[in-house]
Amino acid sequence: MSSFRQRFFMKRQNAGFCCPEISHKAAMNQHLKPQTPQFPAITTLGVDGFLVSFGAKLTEPANRAALAFRAAIESADPTGLKETAPSLTSVFVRFDLARTDHATLQTTLNTLLTQRDWYDAPVPEGRRRWYVPAAFGGENGPQLGAAAELAGLAPETAIAAICAAPLRVQTIGFAPGQPYLGALPPEWDIPRQTDLSPRVPEGALVVAIRQVVLFSVSTPTGWRHVGQTALRLFRPEQDTPFLLRPGDEVLFQRVSDAELEQIRSNDPDGGAKSEGQR
């Protein structure tokens, strides 16, 4: 082996996943080949973070596990903890290198992981159900026809399906206050477009892979724009800048284009009404 190759090979040693039961030191020193991870899996992310993953695919139990585990770390509040954030099936934990180290924090995370079956965790407490007016098709959803066709549905049936049942806020991410809602029925497992739509407006309702995303900013996207809400999901000037929280439910209520315009001009909350849940 050439010396370059050898050096390169040695630098690969911290690659990949380490199972929770392997100590951090052991994981660092073992020659870890790329492998399919066992879940839950703890990996490092950046120089001062861990990612605790509960699944490579989005499932309801993995999503609930991530939300519940995040709450558990926050309440355990280990020394040096700086910030935690859940994504769809994982939790990011960032810490202060001046106050703790990887080995200590990994032990804490391992202990927490063994405390219960996280896949069996209930959805977060304090969640709310939101009723959100939305207009579909035409200028308010130019890709309704294309998305419905991919799902094998007539446009009217597609709208009814999106409005049929409450969708859970599975995570907030990408942009401030931007919710990923799900899950739509299996026929909605439609791909994102390979090309980006030039720009969808704030409040746009877009679909792909059994999820609905509401855009908190106007942006180009690969998701298909099927409807429109008058929601402002991020309001930096207000005391509650973020409208939705993970675990909240959203039930869309179909309105006409004219009704949406009226809501937009009269109601700063975009017509959204919430009620508390257990």
Binding site: Q13, N14, G46, A85, I172, G173, A175
Partner: protein
């Protein structure tokens, strides 16, 4: 309260601080100054806390005055700084008289910083004064704006230091990401042996990199579930080119990430001119932690590196007009006259 009155403001001039922590779960990235080392340098020069806000100038220009005598410091990417027409040394602290016209111009690219004694005390939103342009929090500064300054408890000016080299590219150190193992050994080796340059497409959200034969595309890449992103992560986007995420990046992403640039090396990336070569080098997590801790202690030691400002010959425009050494002789005058 002393104020800064902005007279001429180019694009890309913002108030910046350390950004906002704790909003990642709500989809808001930390933001804050692109070159945090330059923020620490300015704080050291003025003997104040690095959390105080300053003005960031992204390859642009700025003319202002202050309403009361004010201490200032200039750090980061070098610019021409003038006070009422006379040139001020970069990487130094100065006393700015009330009403004097202070100009920053002739940018070389990268991010420059203007710090004030007591810090910029402008409007805050979500716990910070920094503009987060991608999230629409606060805005770029405009001509005519008046910015309040905080109370200045210090009085020393005329100090300088030698900044850490970070304006000439070089090797940026990486740690592995949870997706690095998806890339083949061959791809990773090619990645670390390739010379990259910064693309024109770069801002506070991220920086695209280009090279002669850039294609680090991953077929599995299109099926990765979105997860948390951190600044420094290098995404391999749809066209196979690397994109380094920066302070205002999105909080989650589904593109595969080949590595994460160490936070202590990010100033070298953001300050590299487009003409210089950049390359990447993986280090182990243990090495990375040691490098980060070293960088933190160097930042903490910055106040010890300060020295009084004496005029640097590099900054003297008309150097040749100065008589630097008097009484030069050929050394053989005596012999010639006596012969």
């Amino acid at each position: 309260m002393p104020e800064v009155i902005l007279h001429r403001v180019g694009p890309g001039v913002t108030v910046q601080d350390q950004g906002r922590q704790g909003y990642l779960a709500q989809g808001l990235s930390r933001g804050g100054a692109a070159d945090l080392l330059a923020m620490a340098e300015g704080a050291a020069l003025l003997g104040q806390d690095p959390s105080l806000a300053a003005i960031e100038i992204a390859g642009s220009f700025l003319t202002l005055e202050v309403t009361a005598p004010t201490r200032i410091a200039v750090t980061g990417a070098r610019m021409r700084a003038r006070c009422d027409g006379s040139e001020l040394t970069w990487n130094a602290s100065h006393a700015l008289p009330a009403g004097a016209m202070f100009e920053l111009g002739a940018p070389v690219g990268g991010y420059s910083y203007l710090h004030f004694g007591g810090g910029v005390s402008s409007e805050a939103a979500l716990g910070a004064r920094s503009a987060h342009l991608a999230a629409g929090i606060l805005r770029m500064l405009e001509a005519g704006t008046r910015l309040a300054l905080g109370e200045d408890s210090g009085n020393r000016t005329g100090l300088t230091f030698t900044p850490e080299a970070r304006f000439d590219g070089g090797a940026l150190r990486l740690v592995k990401t949870p997706q690095s193992h998806l890339f083949s050994d061959c791809q990773l080796q090619r990645f670390t042996s390739t010379i990259f340059h910064k693309d024109a497409r770069g801002n506070r959200m991220g920086q695209r990199l280009v090279c002669d034969e850039a294609d680090f595309k991953l077929e599995a890449g299109l099926r990765i579930l979105s997860e948390t992103i951190v600044p420094g992560d290098i995404q391999i986007t749809g066209d196979g080119a690397p994109f380094v995420l920066l302070a205002e990046c999105q909080t989650t992403g589904g593109y595969p990430r080949i590595g994460t640039v160490l936070p202590c090396d990010l100033p070298r990336l953001v300050q590299a001119p487009a003409t210089v070569a950049l390359r990447f080098e993986f280090v182990t997590l243990e090495e990375a932690v040691a490098l980060e801790r070293d960088a933190a202690s160097r930042r903490a030691d910055l106040p010890k590196q300060l020295r009084p400002l004496i005029r640097d010959p590099h900054d003297i425009q008309d150097l040749l007009a100065y008589q630097l050494i008097g009484g030069v002789s050929c050394g053989d005058e005596l012999e010639r006259t006596t012969r």
